[in-house]
Symmetry: C2
Subunit: 392 residues, 2 copies
């Protein structure tokens, strides 16, 4: 292969030779304007590393080390790793500045149905005790067993063997939900606690309790059964209507969704987030990220690339010819992802009608990709995305 | 079955009837003293729920609801769930106050061998650039490729396809380790950075970097290869000596250990910790918790039970006859576990020659158990435990 020479004029990287322009255009590298192919620094480094290109600045030759010394800017390496990985997969990608800002209509929304749900008034007479230090509630009322059997609130007796139990246990989200719906709670000196008392005690220990409640309400009020997702490393797991704790054996309906609530002001390391998705994936549950409305706005979001993927016939999508499929935002494995960063990136992707791909770069140059698919749930207060691990 | 009656004299719960004493003694429930069997509140609740016992206080009868109203104390419910679960498995357990304080010799220590390791001086001439905002380093020096090939420091080129790469990448722990061992680091304006400069920049972003380094050194200096454990949700993964990134196919040595570093001043929700163990387990890696020495001491630790398990012949161990096997400390799934809480509990277990069992109680009364086995690694600064999920 002929030595590929890239020019640098102190401002831009470019290729003028027709032969090289034609070679690079085939790989959809560079931005062609008025007879010249302009290259981004990322593209230049890629060509130096993979294609043994050299860069000429007047009489000097710049190698890859010189490029880093001269032009290194924030997160260059992480972005470069993602670029190289995508190219090495035989796929194409470009930069946000190089595409038309329109709605590409490539982010189909998945609809989740709504089912009627109402708790009959008769249950609201059940007396609950709130255990402040264990942030949960119990009831010894015989009617509490029915509340469990018919609506799967709390846990009566022992999991999957409830019959011989003597009391119903509610976690703090169930406590808040039932209190909001007219159930009565007392402490052990039989003082009645208001919803505000309960909320205050719970929020002291679990700051994001109100966000969790919003998500719980979104699904419960649509008829779904929402239970703890502890075993799957998420806040909740979800059952479709009809699921019941009294069914046995083959009748038992399995949960197929794990919900993780990601408030905008919460930050979590990427690896923790990825781990939760990984666990959900390993137990064959769909991982849903719930994004409550922001209490305060902030943050700029970094969109690194616009990426082309594959068509239904498995042919590779091409820039200039096909519509792109993804926006890529990338992060180091130990970088923190904030809820609002994610929310903004998802919003930008939604506006362009593309799906967001979150690329996590590990310390050994491997990239893991997660794609977000928007969900529609009737009358919901939060926005929801299914997050899926993909191997592009 | 005859109605089991428990007496309460305003201070103690007890059973005096010989018939019931003999029944309960068979289940190793209660503490026999001078002809009377004294019961703990937990045991009383258990007998009320499972055995339909009643409690008599003078002329009054107390049911399970009355017991909670009258005697509820911190974490009673969580402790009760663990007690009930252990009993329902057909196993026995008692309280720390009821056993002799001696070393039971039932916590065998697993020894990890040491292997010689030294980096030859010739490599220390390699020039590294430190990328402050990406908290990592790169080198374009041709010798850097050998450092990767021979000692598996960093990542050269692409993971499992390194040959065509043009530079070596180091993460921040590798950066600190090599800097401490005499390697030189520069910024892109070719100013040399001291170890202190690097440490300061790294600790600004990763507070626990120095703890991670201690663990990294413990293993590296014993000849092991330590790499990021990102994919398994832990800080590190571990290879035995002889592992090399240049080996291909069947020659490739797989990592069999995932290391999670848990400094004493760090707190993490139980479910996050459990999730990491779960991922390690699902990829068949041994999960190792590293506990660095405390910078400051604190915290009291709650040991809930002394538990009897099974003998080698699978017979159930019995109090008064056999030695116990475990100390149990229990936590709610969303409670926070602090490194020092864990360290203290492990210390108490070590002193008694028992193994620590961490019982995590979920919101549906299910208990997940994790057992800790001490590891011995020569000249190590931290203490190490293999943590294993068990189904007792």
């Amino acid at each position: 292969m002929k030595l590929l020479e890239i020019n640098f004029d102190g401002k831009n990287f470019f290729v003028s030779s027709e032969e090289f322009i034609s070679e690079l255009k085939k790989s959809f590298i560079g931005n062609f304007k008025l007879g010249t192919l302009f290259l981004d620094l990322i593209e230049v480094i890629y060509l130096c590393e993979i294609r043994n290109a050299i860069v000429r600045e007047k009489t000097k030759i710049l190698n890859i080390e010189n490029l880093f010394e001269k032009f290194y800017s924030k997160n260059l390496l992480r972005k470069y790793y993602v670029y190289r990985d995508w190219k090495n997969r035989g796929l194409f990608l470009t930069f946000l500045e190089r595409i038309k800002k329109e709605n590409y209509g490539k982010s189909p929304i998945k609809k989740y149905p709504s089912f009627e749900f109402k708790i009959p008034e008769e249950y609201k007479k059940i007396k609950f005790y709130f255990l402040e230090d264990e942030i949960s509630s119990i009831s010894f009322d015989p009617k509490a067993k029915e509340l469990f059997e018919n609506f799967w609130f709390g846990q009566y007796g022992i999991y999957k063997n409830y019959e011989k139990g003597k009391f119903l246990f509610l976690d703090y989200i169930e406590t808040l939900y039932l209190a909001k719906n007219g159930f009565k709670f007392f402490d052990f000196s039989n003082r009645q606690l208001s919803y505000e008392d309960l909320e205050k005690a719970i929020k002291k220990k679990f700051e994001i309790a109100d966000y969790l409640l919003e998500v719980y309400e979104d699904w419960r009020n649509n008829g779904y059964v929402v239970k703890t997702g502890y075993k799957f490393g998420t806040h909740f797991r979800l059952y479709f209507p009809g699921a019941s704790p009294t069914k046995k054996g083959k009748e038992w309906q399995h949960s197929k969704h794990a919900i993780h609530v990601f408030p905008q002001e919460v930050k979590m390391p990427m690896n923790q987030w990825a781990r939760a998705i990984r666990v959900a994936h390993s137990v064959r549950k769909t991982f849903i990220t719930a994004i409550p409305k922001a209490r305060k706005e902030e943050i700029e979001t970094q969109i690194d690339y616009v990426a082309y993927h594959r068509k239904e016939n498995n042919e590779v999508e091409k820039p200039n010819i096909d519509k792109p499929s993804f926006l890529i935002t990338s992060l180091w494995e130990d970088e923190e992802l904030s809820g609002s960063y994610l929310a903004n990136a998802l919003k930008i992707a939604d506006e362009l009608g593309l799906r967001l791909l979150i690329a996590i770069v590990d310390k050994e140059s491997s990239i893991t990709y997660y794609v977000a698919n928007k969900i529609e749930l009737p009358n919901s207060k939060c926005t929801y995305y299914e997050i899926e691990w993909i191997n592009p």
